[in-house]
């Protein structure tokens, strides 16, 4: 079993690799984590994701901007690609699958990709439809995959209005599906008016929302385990 000291050392390395967008160190520390027998889940959440949370803070403080965010995401993926195959079962207590994409007419997918990353981290099955996605495709894919969550992204006012129709269609076909919308022009007001379950106004908020979602899923899991134990 790995000592607490060693564990902290590796976690710190993973965290800093993400913050300093250092892909090489992220890979190296991930391999080391596996070698010394650190629980891969622990390395992902307490290392990589913890680094990404700090990145979110730096973004909010306007010390980091989108280029840095993208490079940090690359560093996270560099580690995740090594760790993920060794995760036995990422049981979050909730079945997670999500359909995600940028709506038709919009070719901006950076925000969408950041959110997708967080779902990847959380072990969700992600059906990524990409960008400029015809509106019907979201409904079709949700039906086909029976996903719990659909995430729609639009970066421009001129494409945002398309989301309204997708929400209506999705809710008509499956009232239980949760819908999250995001992108620069989106507001809480619009999300409520159009019947979306959640919204994120920029990449950072999307990141925070996704992290919150994952944290609450983790909490659910812990509660379930506590119940099992008692």
């Amino acid at each position: 079993m790995v000592t607490e000291e060693k564990r902290q050392e590796i976690l710190e390395k993973l965290k800093n690799a993400v913050i300093q967008y250092d892909e090489d160190t992220s890979k190296e520390a991930s391999k080391e984590a596996l070698e010394v027998g650190l629980e891969p889940n622990d390395a992902i959440f307490s290392g990589l994701v913890s680094g990404m949370e700090e990145v979110g803070r730096l973004f909010e403080a306007q010390e980091y901007f989108v280029p840095e965010l993208l490079m940090c995401a690359d560093a996270l993926y560099a580690g995740l690609d090594i760790l993920k195959p060794h995760v036995k079962q990422l049981d979050l207590g909730v079945k997670g699958s999500v359909v995600i994409g940028t709506v038709e007419g919009d070719v901006h997918d950076i925000g969408k990709n950041i959110v997708k990353m967080m779902f990847d981290v959380a072990g969700f099955t992600v059906y990524d439809l990409g960008r400029d996605v015809p509106l019907d495709k979201f409904v079709e894919e949700q039906m086909k995959t029976d996903s719990d969550l659909v995430c729609l992204s639009a970066m421009m006012t001129t494409t945002m209005v398309g989301m309204k129709k997708v929400i209506e269609d999705l809710k008509a076909k499956n009232p239980n599906v949760k819908i999250m919308i995001g992108g620069a022009p989106v507001s809480q007001d619009i999300a409520e008016k159009w019947g979306a379950d959640g919204y994120a106004k920029d990449a950072n908020n999307a990141l925070k929302d996704a992290i919150n979602m994952i944290s609450s899923l983790k909490k659910l899991k812990e509660e379930a385990e506590a119940k099992k134990g008692s």
Binding site: V66, P67, L70, M71, V107, T159, G162, A184, P185, D189
Partner: protein
Amino acid sequence: MSDITPKQRVLRLFAGERTDRPPCFSGMGNVTTEGLKKFGYKFAALHSNAKMMSDAAASTYKLFGFECGVVPFDLCVEAEALGCEINVYAHLEDILYPTIKKKLIHTEDEMDIRIPSDLAVRGRIPLIKETIGLIKADIGNEVAVGTYVLGPFTLAGQIMELNDLLKLSFKKPDKIGKLLDMLAAAIIIVAKEYEKAGADYITVREMGATSDVLSPRVFKNLILPYLKKIFAELKTNTVLHICGKTNDIAVSMVESGARAISVDQKNDVAETRKKIGNDSLLFGNYDPYNVLVSGTPEKVRETIRKCMDDGVSAVWPGCDIWPTVPPENINAMMDEVKKYRR
């Protein structure tokens, strides 16, 4: 007081003269579904037809008294002329703005591109020039006729993957600088053609360089030099538009040499006005969707009054006006501006 035409008011503003009130116009698209209905035009068909584009652009003035005529309606003209393929979504009834379907640069190795020597006659550039002529003949005596080009960084985001552009701006700024220099030269060629066609003002739309995406430092070091190059070459009235967060770059925007700067609803205009002084022209900054389309007429009036009280030189939207704007809202806006006195 209103014995001057909207055109005279706009031109006097650009010339630095006093005007009775701020003009209410835009440098970006402002076609409305009401205008399209009047002619029975489909949005997707406008982009490749000079007569239709001109009719649609003039209709916002004719129907609502909006004080300009602006073409084109999409952001793909320069990228298309440089060799990208575009999608106008002709198969859809809904209004969607054209996008780039196929980029010019797919990897970092392909960044060494050249400007085609016949750029001025490629793609839809001759069509836009023709349209500027048509709209001038139609309403050019009454209102100022405007057009726009993209800024070099935003154009770079059209011709290459945005992901790569952003990361390379950080990792290899020299390489991006070289590309921006070349694109600035291309933009100058296109803008000069529009000058020749008689545009009264040209807006350079550099929304990719917003502080929501890039740090003010990167804006100043990497992008501003090429914007300066562009504005130094243009003789007509110019506007630099950047949306999103712009308070920390507003002074740099003025330094670009643009005659006026344009900001959106995320800018604290009262603060910006203090920073840039009273002599600089500042256009803005109402939300063209959440206020103009989905707000009530009262909300529109309140917002427009605040823009003017905060110190805008012209009442001007934060982006393209979304076509489904309700007539009562645009009428409320025009009325509020017209009764305003400095």
